[in-house]
């Protein structure tokens, strides 16, 4: 069973070279990673911890972490919707920390 710490180290190695850094708030990051592991256990896939899973892996492919909205959100706001992945500028406080609105189309939400 992957522990949050193992997931943290594995994802950090994979994502930092791509310019996606974990937020400075380490406690929140670890909570979110626990959420991902819990979602994998509950639904069978790492549904975004800040979005409601439908339970349908295929339907939720767009919000399976890293979600497809991470790239445009980090590009525009410096943070993904959950504030799990952020840009270097975000972590260095060189850009304002705005609340990232939900980019996923409303019709994708069916339960």
């Amino acid at each position: 069973m992957t522990t949050p710490q193992e997931l943290y180290e594995r994802l950090k190695k994979v994502n930092e070279p791509k310019g996606y850094y974990f937020d400075n708030d380490h406690e929140m990051v670890m909570d979110l990673l626990k959420g991902l592991l819990l979602n994998r256990e509950r639904y069978g896939y790492m549904c975004c911890p800040c979005r409601l899973a439908s339970g349908d892996r295929e339907w939720d492919r767009d919000i399976t972490c890293p979600c497809v909205y991470r790239e445009p959100d980090v590009a525009e706001y410096g943070s993904c919707y959950c504030q799990l992945y952020v840009s270097k500028e975000w972590n260095e406080g060189r850009i304002p920390h705005l609340t990232v609105p939900e980019r996923r189309p409303a019709e994708k939400y069916r339960s």
Binding site: M28, D31, L32, K34, G35, L36, L38, N39, P49, C50, R51, L52, A53, C82, Q83, L84, T99, V100, P101, E102, R104, A106, Y109, S111
Partner: protein
């Protein structure tokens, strides 16, 4: 000033939802909440219909302060709506 009714639609795994609860707790605000992801399916559908009425995008956290709706962890807006 009598405090308006405060209700929070949240997800148990969401960091912004946790921050919203922490802010309300720190300010001693009386509120009810539901972690929608923990609900059984039929109850979840009912609650989601309620959420969609005030927030068609169905994003969380969705916070009701009286008749105001605040989507996302927006600290200033939340405090302002509470008159704090």
């Amino acid at each position: 000033m009598e405090q308006p009714k405060v209700f929070l639609y949240a997800l148990s795994t969401c960091g912004h939802c946790k921050n919203t609860k922490r802010l309300l707790d720190e300010k001693g605000v009386k509120y009810d909440f539901v972690d929608v992801d923990l609900l059984p399916k039929d109850e979840m559908n009912k609650v989601l219909d309620d959420v969609r009425k005030v927030n068609p995008q169905c994003a969380f956290p969705t916070l009701l302060v009286g008749d105001k709706v605040i989507v996302g962890y927006r600290e200033n807006e939340i405090l302002e709506a509470l008159g704090l």
